[in-house]
Structures are given as C-alpha cells and as structure tokens.
Symmetry: C2
Subunit: 214 residues, 2 copies
DNA sequence: TTTGGATTATTAACGTTGTTAAGTAAATTT
DNA sequence: AAATTTACTTAACAACGTTAATAATCCAAA
C-alpha cells in the first residue's frame, strides 16, 4: 500500500510549507509579525487550515525552536577536529557568538523568549539537540581541567559560567542593550569576540598563553 | 494661581494610579496580562481614559522600565561603603544576581524584553539611571586595574565582560534555560553566586586570594 | 461507475487585544 | 448665566488566536 505513505508525505509537505512561511516571517519581520493569518496568506491557505497541521501557535514556535538547534549544530560541525580542548572551547564560544549575531531571531527563540514557549518549562521536555550541546560543552571543559588548561573546579559550574558569559554577550547585543558600550553596529561582533578572548585568557592557567588564535 | 498647580498634581496622581495598577499586574500576573483594559478595570476607569495619560502601551512599559532602574539603584545603595574595589565589584555582581532573581519581571523589562520597547532603540534615548550604573561599574573596574587587582586591560571591555557574565546568569535563569543544569529552583541563586565566585577568582590576579567573602 | 465515508479545506463566528472618533458630563472662565 | 475648556465614556475598527459548522475533495468498495 503506497498510498497512505504518499498522503503522509503530503501532510509533511504542507507542514513544511507552514514552517517555511513562519520562518520567513520570523526572520524577515520579527516575532510579533508571525501571525497565523499572515502565515496562511503566504502559503495561500485559509487561516484555519494551519490548525490541521499544528495544534496551536506555540507548536509552530516549538518547531522553529528545534530547527534552530539543528542549524546551530550544523554551524558547529567543524569543531570536533580541534584537538586542543582549550582552543576548541574558544572556538565553541566564537561560533556561539557568531551564530547568535547572524540568527538573532532563532537565538531569541532558543535561549531568550519566554512567554509563548510554555512547552519548554514542561517536565518531560528533553529536546535532545540542546542536551547534546550541553554535554559537548561539559566534556570539553572536563578535558580542559584534566589536561591542566583550566584550574581544578566543578565542570558543571564552569560549563554554566562559560555558557552564561557568551549568552550574556549575545543576549545584550541582540536586545540592543549594548549601544551604550558599542556605538557602531559593525563593531559589535568583533568587540564581543575580544571580550571572549579576554575571558579565555583569564580562565586559562597555563603560563605565557599569548598565542593569538582568533 | 494655585489652581492649575493642583490640577497638575491631580493629573500626576492618575498617572501614578495607572502605573501602580500596571506594576501590580506586571509583577503578579506577568507581562502578557498587562492589558489596557485590565489596568482600566483595576483603577475603575474606562479603558480609553488611560490614553489621556499615556500615549500608548509602550509609554507605560517605558515608565515601568525607568522605575525598575531606580529600584535597582536603591538596592545598591550600600555599595559605596565597600572600599576594596574588588570586593565592591563582587558585591555589585551579587546584588545584580539577587535583584534579577527577586524581580524577574522588572529585570525582563530592563534588560531582556525587546519587541514592545521600541523607545529604547531610539537615538536620543538617555535614561540616566542606566548610564550611571554603567559608569559606576566602569569606575570600580578601573580602580581594580589601577590597584593591581585585575590584569591591565581596557576597562571598557572588562566592564562589558563582567556585565555580560552576570546578565547571562540571570537571563538564562529567569527564562528557564538553566533547568538542565540546576534542577531545584531554590538552588538557582546560590549556584549562580558560586559561578560568580569562580569568575571573580579567575579574573583576580592577586596571589592567594582564598578569602571567602560571600 | 456510482455511492459513501473519511480526509482536507473553508466560511463564519467568538472573545480577545490596542487604539481612535465621537459624544457627554462636569468644571472653569468670562 | 453662558461659553468654553477639561475629564471621561460609549461605540467602534481592525487584527489577533481559536473553535464550530460546513463545504469540497478524494479513495475504496458496491
């Protein structure tokens, strides 16, 4: 029976149509302009049709949220090739900053947005890609500590700290809270990378680490 | 002519009434439930009356935003008495974390919320309290560097870094992105303070700084 | 090939929201 | 006391998320 499969596929195709339209609106016109009716306009369906493929608006945003994580994962696929764990950690940070600045809407959905993303705070919420990212970070930091690049400390706590640092930079930047510090928009990312550089040099306990890897 | 003055005063009183109601809704029921009509209900006026005192909803949020900054300033009034600049910096950080965790709605408005706060991105936007906070941070850091507590570096960059670090912690915490790291809600703030402690110990360049000031 | 049940899509509507226009009641000035 | 300004309300508009009822389409069996 190949017919139910084709129907399944078609269903997925319309789903994708909806997600693509949402994404487009989301990236080009911002969160507030992602509206069921505007999505429907874009895909040339009636507004209510959207509800045949998604339970509600929240489910659409959840899907975009997940897509964001896989985008970020792709962005990081070159990372495994860096053998020095401290350099790898640094590059992870730089990638994080860059991904955030290049995909502010996705970043918002993934790490900032609260109100309409109630699914996140549910207990059974696993979203593997995020877990994996956290695990990679912790593994790298554990390796840094073991090999004497970082001072002995709870890897858990250090992971949280490193993540908070880069998140703080991106979150302040894309929510326009840095304009007092950095006036020209094109100076944002470079300055953030400098801050990360400063951070890395401070937590690094190996002497004479003046190698400029950036 | 004392009459126009009294009328002015009354005008301000209704303004305050509106702000208080907004604040109440905002803190007790969250951003999404601050609605012109619910504000009007609380103060027992018609919805449209609100528009006689505020241009639009944005202007109400802007006012709450400003109030948030003065609240934070009050929260920090004991800070000047700490003479050691590094200890002062540490305490500034702890206060920041605590303020954010105790006033998540205000914190959102002040440092996270984007969409409905367009006033912020305007060019002429000064909002003195925020500027002053930044200046105090930079002054403290400059003092830390001058007195040899922190490695020589651009105070501007270090300020940005320190702020980003604590902001990252608070922003992740109040937007429920830390649940993977910290499972019990009551462990949140203590762990964040530990992270800050770790951070301070890493950027501090004075030897043997094992004094536990927290 | 036609009928009938399931699938897919639409129209109409409800209860919200922010906001504006028009109208009314009260206070102040002339 | 009449005219005018001020303070407020009622009614309404457009857009929102969402649901119920309805129409159109498709596929399998008679």
């Amino acid at each position: 029976m190949g017919i139910p499969e084709r129907k399944e596929k078609q269903k997925l195709e319309v789903r994708k149509l909806i997600l693509d339209a949402s994404m487009k609106l989301f990236v080009e016109e911002g969160f507030a302009n992602v509206t069921i009716r505007r999505i429907a306009d874009l895909i040339e369906y009636s507004p209510t049709t959207v509800y045949l493929y998604f339970k509600d608006k929240d489910e659409i945003f959840s899907s975009l949220h997940d897509i964001g994580f896989t985008k970020m994962q792709e962005f990081n696929r070159t990372l495994a090739s860096i053998h020095n764990p401290l350099l790898r950690l640094h590059k992870m940070g730089e990638n994080y900053l860059q991904f955030g600045m290049e995909n502010p809407e996705y970043y918002s959905l993934m790490f900032i947005q609260g109100e309409p993303m109630k699914k996140l705070s549910e207990p059974g919420c696993e979203w593997k890609p995020g877990d994996e990212a956290i695990n990679r970070l912790r593994a790298t930091i554990t390796e840094c500590i073991e090999k004497g690049y970082l001072a002995s400390a709870d890897p858990h706590l250090v992971s949280l700290s490193v993540w908070s640092f880069v998140h703080g930079l991106v979150a302040l930047a894309i929510r326009q809270r840095m304009e007092k510090f950095i006036h020209e928009p094109e100076a944002l990312l470079p300055t953030m990378k400098e801050a990360l550089h400063w951070f890395m040099n401070n937590i690094d306990i190996t002497e004479k680490r003046a190698i400029d890897h950036g």
